[in-house]
Symmetry: none
Subunit: 194 residues, 4 copies
DNA sequence: TATGAATGAGGCTTCATTCAT
DNA sequence: AATGAATGAAGCCTCATTCAT
C-alpha cells in the first residue's frame, strides 16, 4: 500500500471500522438467536461476515464480549421506551397499553428482539427491576390496585415474552397489545371475542 | 415386594445401578438448568457425581440422551396431571385453579422442574398443544368465554412458567395458584390485596 | 449352588474351562483376521463368545496375549510340517512340492491360517529363518542350484503367501502347488497351460 | 515463474503451509508403516512433527484422510510407471525387467514405499487389476505363454513385494530385478549363481 | 488493521482392564 | 471361576484465541 493511497485509505478504513463492527454484531445476533450462546462458535459468527477470524478480535475481546454488547444494545434500546411508556401513563389501561405496545413494536422493528436466551443477564435483570419499581410507583399513584408487585411483575413478563413470540411469528403488535391489556384489566371475561 | 424377595430382586449391584442412573440424572438436571444444553459438558455432569467419566456411558449413549431422558421424565410426569386437572373442571375457576395448582405442586415436589430453556423439545411442545386443545374444549363446553385459544394458551404458559420460578424461589404453590387464577378470572382488579 | 451339585459341577467346570479358552481363541482368530490387532477390541472378541468380558482375563492376561497365543498356535502347527516336507525331499521338485503342499493344505484345513498381519512376529520370523536354513542345506546337498538363499527364500515366501490367499479364496491346494512348483522349477515356460 | 513473481507467489506463509502438509504426510508414512492404520494415532503422527495437535486438522479432516492421501500419492506415483514399463515391452524379458525395475527403483527413490499393510485399499487393488490386464494383454500379444493370469499375477505380486522389502533393507534395485526376472523366465535353474 | 494458519486446552467417547458380587 | 459395571487413560476432534505476515 503506497503513499498515494494512504489518505483515501484512511477514511475508507474508518468507514470500514464501523461497518465491520456492525457486521459482526449483526451476524452475532443471528447466530446467537439460532444456536444460543454456548452453542454458537466464533467461527459461526465470522463465517456470517466477509471478515477473517482474527479480525473478530480487533473489535471484541472475546465471544462473551459480543454477547454482552448485543444484549446491552437491545436492553439499552428497549428499556427507555418501556420506561417512558409506563411513567407517562395516567390510567391502568394506559400503563398496560403503553408498556405492551412499546415491547411488541420493538419486537416488530428488530428482527431478533427479546430472545428467550439468558434471562439472567444483568441488563435483562435490570429491566425486570425497573418494571417492578414502575409497578410499585403506579400502585402508589393509585393507577394500579395494590397487590404483590413482584408477582404482578412476573405475570407481565411472562405474558409479554410469550406474546412477543407470537409477534415474531407474525401476529400484529396492536392485536397482541389489545389482548394482553384486556387480560390484565379484566381477565378472561374481558378478552376480545374472536 | 416382600422382604424375602427384596434382597434377591434388588441385589446390591442393581441397587447401585439404579442409584447411579439417578445420580447422573440428578446431576444432569442441575447442570443443564445452570448452563443450558449446549453450555453443559458431560464432564460437568459426572463431576457432579461420585462416578468416573466412562461410567456415564454405561447409562446414556450421549449427552443428547440424558437430556432427552430428563425431558421425557419431566414432561411425562406433569402432562397427565395437568390434563386431568383441566379435563375434570366444571367451571372456569376450577379450570385455572386445577391447572395452576397441578403445575405449582409439581414444581414444589420436583426440585428442578419446568426449565425455561429449550422450550422447543417435542415433549414440551406436545404439552403446549394439549393445553390449547383443552382450552378449545373448555370453550366448546361453555366453561371459558370464546376467544383466541392460541393467545390465551400463550398467556397461561407465560404466567405459569414465570410464577413457577417464584415457586422454585420459595413462594407457596397455593398462593401462586390463587394469584394466577384471580388474574385470569378477573384481571388486576381481582388480584389478592397484599 | 448347593453341595449336591458340586461334584458334577466340578467336572463340568473343567470341561468348560477348556471350552472357554478355545471359544476365546476361535473368536479372536475371526476378529483379528477381520480387523487386525489394533483394530480389534476385547469387546469384539468376547461378543463373539457367550462369555462375559471379565472372563476373558481369567484365560489371557491381555489382548496382546491372545494374539500371541494365536500366532504361536498357528506357527507351531505349520512349522514342523513345512520342515518335515523340506528335509525329506530328495529332489528340487520334491522340495517345492512338499513345502507348498504342506502350506496350502494347512491353509485349507485351518479356516483362518497364515494371516498377512504382523509378519514380524517372533514365531513367523523363526519360520522364515528355518526356511532359509533348509534352502541352504538343500543347496549344500545338491538338491537346489546355488544362488542367494535369502532372495530365493523371499521369493518362496512371497509366492507362498500370495497363492495361499488364492487357496483361502477357494482355489485348490493341489493346483496351487503345481503352479508354484512349476514356476520355481522352470519359470513361466513351464507353467501349466490353462 | 520468474524471480519477481516467486517472492509474491510463494510467501513465507505458503511455503510453511506446503512444508507442514509434507511434514504431516512424512510423519504419517512412518507411523502407519510401523503401527498400521488402526494402531496409529493422530497423536503419534503429530508427535513426529514439530506441529501442534490442532494443526493436523488444518490439513486433513481425519486420520482416514491422511491415510488416503498417502495411499493415493504412492499408487498414483507408481502405477503409471509400472504400466508404461509393461505396455512397452516387446519380449517376456522386457516385460519382467521393466516391471520389476520400475518397482524397485520406485522403492529406492521413495523412502517408505509399497507397504505390506492394507493391501486392500482401492488404489492398490486397482493396481493389481491393471497388472492382471497387462498380463492378459501380453499373453494375447504372444509375449507371455498362456497360463492362469490371476495366478501369475499373484506370483509376481508376491515376489515383487517380498524383494521390495530387500531393497528397502539395502539390496540393489538392479540385482533384485535380475533375480526376479531370471526366476520368472527360467525358474531356479536360471537364477544368478552367487 | 486484516488475514488466516497455528496453537493447545478441553469436549465427547471408546476401551482395556479391575473388582465387587 | 463367571459376571458385568466401574474405572480412567487415551483417542479423535473442535474451537477460542494468538500471532506472524
Amino acid at each position: 500500500m503506497d503513499a498515494r493511497q494512504s489518505y483515501a485509505a484512511t477514511s475508507r478504513r474508518e468507514l470500514t471500522k464501523a461497518q465491520n463492527r456492525d457486521a459482526i454484531l449483526a451476524a452475532a445476533r443471528l447466530v446467537f438467536a439460532e444456536l444460543g450462546f454456548a452453542g454458537a462458535t466464533v467461527r459461526d459468527i465470522i463465517r456470517a461476515t466477509p471478515l477473517a477470524s482474527g479480525t473478530f478480535y480487533n473489535y471484541f475481546k472475546s465471544k462473551e464480549e459480543v454477547y454482552q454488547a448485543l444484549r446491552d444494545e437491545l436492553a439499552l434500546a428497549v428499556r427507555p421506551r418501556l420506561r417512558e411508556a409506563r411513567l407517562s401513563a395516567t390510567s391502568a389501561e394506559e400503563f398496560f397499553v403503553g408498556a405492551f405496545r412499546a415491547l411488541f413494536q420493538f419486537v416488530t422493528e428488530t428482527e431478533t428482539a427479546p430472545e428467550r436466551f439468558r434471562m439472567d443477564s444483568p441488563q435483562v435483570l435490570a429491566g425486570f427491576a425497573e418494571l417492578r419499581q414502575d409497578i410499585e410507583a403506579a400502585m402508589a399513584r393509585g393507577l394500579l390496585p395494590v397487590t404483590d408487585a413482584a408477582l404482578l411483575s412476573a405475570a407481565l413478563i411472562g405474558v409479554g415474552f410469550e406474546l412477543a413470540e407470537q409477534v415474531k411469528a407474525g401476529a400484529g403488535a396492536e392485536e397482541m397489545t389489545r389482548f394482553a391489556t384486556a387480560l390484565f384489566l379484566g381477565g378472561i371475561g374481558a378478552l376480545p371475542k374472536s
